[in-house]
């Protein structure tokens, strides 16, 4: 399914290029701001200095202990698939089926798709070991590529 997405996004991108005349610029942006790209793509979180609770978005105070001091920490790339579903019906424009999962990355729960795997119950298993991998989401009119993340079997 990843490949299907990719082809579709490239096709959309081609159309966009014909309209705007832009080229792929080589620039990349992460799909979300808690994904860090570069040589070692990984996720980061805001960690409460007082109780170590972690958040992927900003908080005024820690939801667990109300502490107001946070630091940025990296999330391990490897984890264990704690739950999943294989989505067969989704909103308009979302390709199905895909595997949505909950991954335990060294004690931090992460939501993400399980990628580079056949999306059927015979190939996805609770408790399987996975690691973070990135994929191309598409290109905008300036030729900037959006890069997303998922988890692939180890």
């Amino acid at each position: 399914m990843r490949e299907t997405w990719h082809e579709e996004e490239v096709r959309v991108s081609d159309v966009a290029e014909q309209v705007s005349g832009s080229q792929e610029s080589g620039a990349q942006v992460p799909l979300v701001d808690y994904l860090v790209l570069g040589d070692d793509p990984h996720l980061r979180a805001q960690e409460c200095v007082a109780c170590q609770a972690r958040f992927f978005d900003r908080r005024n105070a820690c939801a667990s202990c109300f502490g107001a001091e946070f630091r940025t920490v990296d999330i391990p790339n490897e984890g264990v698939l704690r739950s999943f579903t294989i989505v067969a019906h989704a909103g308009p424009g979302i390709d199905v089926p895909f595997v949505a999962g909950l991954v335990d990355c060294g004690g931090t729960s992460v939501r993400g798709n399980v990628i580079n795997i056949l999306a059927d119950p015979d190939h996805v298993a609770l408790g399987m070991n996975v690691r973070l991998a990135t994929f191309s989401v598409g290109f905008d009119d300036n030729g900037t590529e959006a890069v997303g993340f998922g988890y692939e079997p180890i």
Binding site: V29, D33, F56, I86, V87, F98, P121, A146
Partner: protein, 404 residues
């Protein structure tokens, strides 16, 4: 007026759930209110407060309904709490009566949801962005649903059930389908259910897959409906007729909780902890335990959700939900019948009505008015709803002690 510790349901009504193309939310809500008032033998003139819930309409449903059934100038509280909206409306009316602000209160929940389709999978269209700009709380440059997991309700609740399976084992596709088979079987005895067709486990497993392991019949049915209830304090009830006292149902516990912080709640809603907390509080308030319950209506928005709530409500020992179901306990002829109404999978789930409709179901049995699906000798029942976000409402109800 005086504060009173004992609260009773004096009158209660639910419309038939299903498609009501010729009725709007005001028609449906008014039908539920008129039914509840008539059931309790009272009028709008007796009500001291009104709490009204509706999510998909334009707002101000309480005032619209007053114009339809009686404007007396009483305070109206329009409430919104996801799938716990109906229970929240009821709880609001109960709090006002319990506080002594009035003797009687009215709660109503109504929704038009037929044909609403898949809920929860919204967000930015993928093709709308021409230039990537980070937006929102996660700085997303384009739509994330389907790329970073799923926000669709069938998918979220599928993961809730699968996570339970990961923790304790035994939660197979077939088991979830069997739970759905039970509820669809129960629905054949409920004339107010949106769907009343029995389905085999095989039929359910082979139906359209929505989000594995939830197939279409394992998902709550979007439909139209309304439910309303009149609550009264004990002191006032004792001034009413013998018949009103006999049919009144005691609210032994009324609890609403939200979710306390849990490590993974930011990525997968935790429907467990707040339900466990609510159940603990409710049993303590009512002075009963799970073994005292004669029937339970729990929030089976998906078959995968019903399994975890056996455990969350203490109907089985921790980790024992699969064995509990396999023992046959949750069937209507079992020791702890669950969702004899057919549950949300077949009765239907007009969101704001659900949290009062499940109480209506329990009341039918406690009043010996359950018809073909009556649970004989029912004395105590529990009604549970959960709205994502989250909010959990639990009410424990007891049969009146007044003799016929």
């Amino acid at each position: 007026m005086s504060a009173s510790d004992d609260i009773w349901i004096l009158g209660i009504h639910m419309t038939k759930f299903g498609k009501h193309p010729d009725s709007d939310i005001v028609d449906l809500g008014a039908e539920a209110i008129m039914g509840a008032l008539a059931d309790g033998g009272v009028t709008m003139g007796d009500m001291g407060i009104m709490a009204a819930g509706n999510l998909m309409g334009g707002g101000g449903i309480g005032q619209q309904l007053q114009k339809q059934v009686g404007q007396t100038g009483i305070p109206v509280y329009n409430v919104s709490n996801a799938c716990a909206t109906g229970a929240t409306a009821l709880r609001t009316a109960i709090m006002a009566v319990k506080a002594g602000e009035c003797d009687m209160g009215l709660a109503v929940g109504v929704e038009k949801l037929a044909g609403a389709g898949l809920l929860g999978g919204g967000g930015k269209s993928r093709s709308s962005a021409n230039v990537y700009e980070p937006t929102g709380r996660f700085g997303a440059v384009t739509g994330t649903d389907g790329r970073i997991g799923t926000a669709t309700m069938p998918g979220v609740f599928a993961q809730v059930g699968m996570e339970y399976g990961h923790k304790y084992g035994g939660a197979t596709f077939e088991l979830f389908a069997q739970i759905s088979e039970k509820n669809h079987g129960h629905s054949t005895l409920n004339p107010k259910a949106a769907y009343t067709k029995a389905m085999s486990t095989e039929q359910i497993m082979n139906d359209v897959m929505i989000a594995y392991p939830n197939t279409r019949p394992m998902c709550s049915a979007n439909c139209d409906g309304a439910a309303a209830a009149v609550v009264v304090n004990g002191e006032t009830l004792r001034t009413l007729s013998q018949e009103q006292q006999r049919r009144a149902v005691k609210v032994s516990a009324s609890v609403l909780t939200s979710d306390p912080w849990q490590e993974s709640c930011q990525v997968l809603p935790d429907v467990n902890t707040l339900t466990r907390n609510a159940a603990t509080q409710a049993y303590e308030q009512a002075g009963v335990g799970p073994d005292d319950l004669d029937l339970v209506e729990l929030h089976d928005c998906f078959a995968t959700a019903e399994l975890v709530h056996y455990d969350n409500l203490g109907l089985c020992e921790e980790g024992g939900a699969v064995d509990f179901f396999k023992s046959g306990a949750a069937h209507r002829d079992g020791r702890m019948p669950v969702n004899v109404s057919g549950g949300l999978q077949s009765k239907g789930h007009p969101i704001s009505a659900t949290g009062i409709a499940n109480i209506w179901e329990v009341c039918q049995h406690l009043r010996d008015e359950g018809g073909d699906r009556q649970i004989e000798g029912a004395n105590v029942g529990l009604a549970h709803v959960i709205g994502l976000g989250s909010a959990c409402g639990i009410h424990i109800l007891e049969k009146s002690a007044v003799a016929v």
